[in-house]
Amino acid sequence: MNAKTMAGIRGSLILAAALLIAIVLSLMIGQIRLSAADLWTGLLTGKGPGALTLRVLRGPGVVTAIGAGAALGASGAIFQILLRNPLAAPDVMGFTSGAGLAIVCGVLAGTSLPMPLLSAAGGLAAACLVAILAIKRDGSQVPITLILVGLGIGFLTAAANSFVVTRLPPEQAAEAQRWLTGSLAARDWGHAGQVFGCGTVLAVILVIQVRALSLLELGDDLATGLGLKSNRARLQLAGTGVLLAATGVAVAGPVPFIALMAGPLGMRITGAKQPGGRILSAAVAGAIITVLADLAARSIVPGLQLPAGVMTGIFGAPYLLWLLSREMDAGDI
């Protein structure tokens, strides 16, 4: 076994351990502090404070956070690989806020459609708009134009969101604002089931598509020469990416910057170079970030439950700035 593979395995173990630690910490810390022993007893016997926490208080939220983070992280990695640009994430390009807007509007209009469906519709609509507006008539696409147009769509949905929020009565306004910031408070097993159910289906589809992604990485001409219908493959991959992001948004709201950060973070730790490995490590990294952001948001100010999106916003923005300065120095933008 060569050194590179060893490093990869070590990185994967580190990532897995980090996720485990994040989960345990997240289960232990809260208004009532638990010890690891309490949790262990609760897990084994199904009795005591540990069991209650696992089953009702924190368990569902943490599991939902893992699912939502993984979905968002994987989605980010897909777009980053597809557009070959670390800035190309569904949250930067307005897909997640489109999904969020659709859900808020749907709920306010009183529809009985399930959240993931609304979310998917909104995300796909935003993605289509971005594609239509940014891709030139001859089919060529400039990643930077896609990103900027996506930002514009994000501005538009943000305006619509704030309009909706100002129209609501105070109680609902606070609730909607929380949700639009991205929050994992008060999630139940229904949410967890939802995100893992949809996520699993999409993951299976992604496994089938991943080979096309590794061909597309070689450039369109070569990929076509190798027998791939590049445009169709790209469209399918983008579709899966949007739906993954929408799955995350449906249970956690449009939490900003997770999709942006997860890919590069996962890749740095595991050293994965192949699309499959990058997406997997991005999913795990996304889960870690989300679990920790939720933990920080609910414990940083005692007695106050902030939405997780506030934390990812505060820490994700400096990352974006750092990324910018690095990309600039490398002359990529």
């Binding site: 900027l148 930002l151 305006a159 606070a174």
Partner: protein, 328 residues
């Protein structure tokens, strides 16, 4: 010159609409009476003097200030996407206001206004430093993304505070979008002074900014000091944006819309462009405000939402047009 005349006409029309639209009966003649022969016993007259007039004045200050600020920023950064909202300067002012009133435990107008200026200045310096503006040519993409990131971070803080305190949400959720409602409660006089100061400074240094927009080497060859021009522009933008945030909250996208139109009226002479931006900025803001009031009665769409709904498509259109080389 004809375009300038059109702009002035548009402003007059916008001002008249702001005063008259939605006045229940009497319309224009009632407004005219309230202004020319004010009767302190007539409630309709009082309403016009105490509600409509402040709204008009606030719109004039904020619109003119944001229009000019956008024009200066676009000239100095050579970035057609520059706008106080997009580059995070509004967010800086909003952040300072929200944090300051949280610490002080009060949210009166004097305090909010006094905090808006340092907040705007700090954000402007930060976004230029982060966007590479201090080193020389900052590409539009880099500066824009730096602004977006800065806004996202500052607004995350703001929403953390707002969500933590429900009473704060009530005050700020309206203010944060940008609105001309309740303008009578805002410190219009002081903000007008700040805006006029910023406008004079901008007009004074306009020829220097023109030189700088040819590139820093040529600008120095023309006998200007780039650092000093940038500082002057920064002070002007801060005064203008701070004043606008003080009277209307962080209204975004006006600074993006206006310069392009102002160029039609003012050609490529920055002083004329600045004057045209002031006129057009005020006109557009007042129009947007009036439309927001009447489009789905009885609800009022905040003017900040209106400008965003117009401005975001404009942003997309301009992003598409960015020359390949200009994206560097």
């Amino acid at each position: 010159m004809r375009a300038m005349a059109v702009a002035v006409l548009a402003l007059v029309l916008a001002a008249v609409l702001t005063l008259t639209v939605g006045v229940r009966e009497g319309g224009f003649s009632l407004v005219w009476q309230a202004l020319s022969a004010f009767d302190p016993n007539d409630p309709a007259h009082i309403a016009i003097q105490s509600v409509r007039m402040p709204r008009l004045i606030a719109g004039l200050i904020a619109g003119a200030a944001l229009g000019m600020a956008g024009t200066i920023m676009q000239a100095i950064t050579r970035n057609p996407l520059a706008d106080p909202g997009i580059l995070g300067i509004n967010a800086g002012a909003a952040f300072a206001v929200v944090i300051g009133s949280l610490i002080a435990g009060r949210a009166d107008n004097g305090l909010m206004a006094a905090l808006a200026f340092p907040g705007a200045a700090a954000a402007a310096v930060a976004v230029f430093a982060l966007g590479g503006g201090l080193k020389g040519d900052a590409g539009p993409v880099r500066l824009t993304l730096a602004g977006v990131a800065l806004s996202a971070m500052l607004l995350s803080f703001v929403s953390a505070i707002i969500l933590a305190r429900n009473e704060a949400l009530e005050v700020f959720r309206f203010w944060v979008t940008g609105s001309l409602a309740q303008a009578g409660m805002r410190p219009l006089g002081y903000m007008a002074i700040a805006a006029v100061f910023g406008a004079c400074l901008a007009i004074a240094i306009a020829p220097r900014i023109e030189a700088l927009s040819l590139g820093s080497a040529l600008a120095r060859g023309l006998g200007t000091k780039p650092g000093r021009i940038q500082l002057g522009a920064l002070v002007a933008v801060t005064a203008l944006t701070g004043a606008a945030v003080g009277v209307a909250g962080p209204v975004a996208f006006l600074g993006l819309l206006v310069p392009r139109l102002a160029r039609r009226a003012g050609g490529h002479v920055l002083r004329r462009e600045l004057i045209a931006s002031a006129i057009l900025g005020a006109a557009i803001l007042l129009f947007a405000d009036t439309i927001g009031r009447i489009v789905i009665p009885p609800t009022e769409i905040r003017v900040g939402t209106m400008t965003a709904l117009i401005g975001a498509p404009m942003f997309i259109w301009m992003a598409r047009r960015l020359r390949a080389g200009a994206s560097a």
